[in-house]
């Protein structure tokens, strides 16, 4: 509902991007993982973050979701600074969905309950309404018959699709996907990627950290190459993948090609 209402409310019309990062820095102890990241994501845009392990992709997504407090810099969602003091983090997180590499479904709850918990407890939806919405979403992603199962009865691909549905049930403005296929057996990757394509078609604003270069090339409006805590190079996927300007980008892509992933 919010997703449809947002454009009418005007933030997009005023040219304010859905998501904007200004000089975001993040350290863990003495290790500085993000060294000043600037990024703007327009509404309905799909941005893919690529880069080696440890380049800061996951940390960046966790910072946007406020799971990690930033040390410096600012983050805006539709013009509202979410890194400001005194911001209600729970309210912000309801507008930003995140899906993790390791699914992180709640193992003691059925699939349906996994999906309805947050809409019920955080949004205050009545249970019946939350369940109706959840069942509709599960059906849309081919999971209707799994609603009463527990997560450990599902394949990895199914679990990850449930995790995506769980995030979608909050009707977020933005979805963050953190290496969502990295923990999956190769034959299960496609079903999850299909779900993400479906989201992109529906106009969901997304920031996707991924090692699936073919997928990134296919789905992204823009690709950002993260290296040593900064966005070293960004542009349309065709250009990044065919004529990278930076030496380090070239070397990274070369390694990916050698690994047979592109």
């Amino acid at each position: 509902m919010r997703a449809e209402a947002a454009p009418a409310a005007g933030p997009a019309a005023t040219g304010e991007p859905a998501l904007r990062l200004e000089g975001v820095r993040k350290s863990f102890g003495r290790l500085e993982v993000l060294k000043g990241v600037d990024l703007a994501v327009a509404e309905h845009e799909v941005v893919c973050l690529i880069g080696a392990s440890g380049s800061g992709k996951s940390t960046l997504l966790r910072c946007i979701n406020l799971l990690e407090p930033v040390n410096a810099g600012r983050i805006f969602v539709h013009g509202e600074e979410i890194t400001a003091r005194g911001v209600d983090v729970n309210r912000i997180r309801r507008r930003i969905g995140i899906v993790f590499q390791s699914f992180n479904l709640f193992p003691h709850m059925t699939v349906l309950r996994n999906v309805t918990l947050a809409p019920e407890k955080a949004l205050g939806l009545p249970r019946a309404e939350a369940e109706d919405r959840a069942l509709e979403l599960l059906g849309r992603f081919g999971l209707a018959d799994k609603a009463r199962e527990y997560p450990d009865r599902l394949s990895g691909g199914q679990q990850q699709r449930v995790a995506i549905v769980r995030a979608l049930a909050m009707e977020p403005d933005i979805m963050l996907l953190d290496e969502v296929t990295s923990a999956l057996d190769p034959e299960l990757v496609a079903e999850v990627l299909a779900v993400i394509r479906e989201l992109a078609r529906a106009g969901m604003t997304m920031v996707i950290a991924t090692h699936e270069m073919g997928f990134a090339r296919d789905i992204a409006d823009r690709v950002c190459f993260l290296d040593a805590g900064v966005i070293l190079e960004e542009g349309p996927p065709e250009r990044i993948f065919t004529e990278p300007r930076h030496e380090r980008t070239r070397r990274f892509l070369q390694r990916i090609i050698e690994a047979g992933r592109l």
Binding site: L67, R91, G97, F106, P107, L117, A122
Partner: protein, 301 residues
């Protein structure tokens, strides 16, 4: 789980579901190897048991003082005369248990939650919980029973119950809460941080996350060690005997023992405790074994 060591009954607390904890061999599955290995094995096991028991009984019975000991401890007549009364009084022990346990479970959970609260704001609560558990785990339960059972009624405070049994049960609640809180805490800490991250990322608040995501998983994992503490508490209801005038099973046995100059009533009391605690213990072991099987089958996420 160094923190969960302590009193005599709390030394070995299993925590199934937590891969970080070292695993002992399952002492629990006494019958499993028998079932698995067929009739021949069973026959050997039965024969060997019979031989061992026979030797044991024979060597005890041939000792010089056996007739005296037998009359003092295993007197059939004394048993028949005292057992029914002691069994009736055992109802009180069960009642003490039934009253104390719900309060223990609630207070202990509160303590465990207090101790798991993050951030500097909650430091006083955390500190209080730590002091509480250290204090009550550090004192023998029987001392707490004495101090409260004799001490509080003699204060004669208006509006405060004077029944020593009431205060003895309060003492059990205070003491056992400290142990059970540690069991809960181990469970809470065994829930992976990614579960909290997943809940918070959905916009659930700290309390909702604890209430719906962390605590249900934590409690499920610690049910076997919790039941261990149930068994211990059922036994320790005998401590109430030290301060009350109205006898429960142990007190009754002592009274009979003193009156009859015979120890058989104490064995009668012991038997009553076994009737309750052995099935409970078997259940605990069965639960632990089932949990392990489920985990080894890779069912756990």
């Amino acid at each position: 789980m160094a923190s969960a060591g302590g009193g005599e009954v709390h030394r070995a607390q299993h925590l199934p579901g937590d891969p970080r904890l070292p695993e002992g061999r399952p002492s629990s599955r006494i019958l499993a190897p028998l079932r698995a290995e067929g009739v021949k094995t069973v026959t050997v096991a039965v024969l060997s048991t019979v031989v061992v028991l026979t030797l044991l009984v024979w060597s005890v019975a041939r000792s010089a003082n056996w007739p005296v000991v037998r009359d003092a401890f295993f007197n059939g007549l004394e048993f028949r005369e005292t057992f029914p009364e002691i069994a009736r009084k055992f109802v009180r022990n069960v009642a003490y248990f039934m009253v104390a346990e719900p309060f223990i479970l609630a207070l202990a959970l509160l303590l465990a939650i207090m101790r798991s609260l993050p951030g500097p704001v909650f430091f006083p609560l955390r500190a209080m919980a730590v002091v509480y558990t250290d204090f009550f785990r550090g004192i023998p339960t029987v001392l707490v029973v004495y101090l409260l059972g004799f001490g509080v009624p003699s204060l004669g405070l208006p509006g405060v119950p004077r029944d020593p049994a009431f205060w003895a049960v309060v003492a059990l609640v205070l003491s056992y809460s400290a142990y059970v809180a540690e069991v809960y805490r181990a469970g809470i800490e065994s829930v992976h941080p990614s579960q909290v991250a997943a809940a918070r990322s959905l916009g659930l608040g700290r309390w909702h996350t604890l209430r719906y995501v962390v605590i249900p998983q934590a409690v499920r994992r610690v049910i076997p060690p919790l039941l261990n503490d149930f068994v211990a508490l059922q036994k320790d209801t005998a401590l109430v005997a030290f301060v009350v005038a109205v006898p429960e099973a142990f007190k009754m046995a002592q009274i009979q023992q003193a009156a009859r100059f015979n120890f058989t009533p104490l064995l009668a009391a012991a038997l009553m405790f076994l009737v309750i605690t052995v099935p409970l213990t078997r259940t605990v072991d069965w639960l632990i074994a089932r949990e392990r099987r489920r985990r080894e089958a890779g069912a756990a996420l």
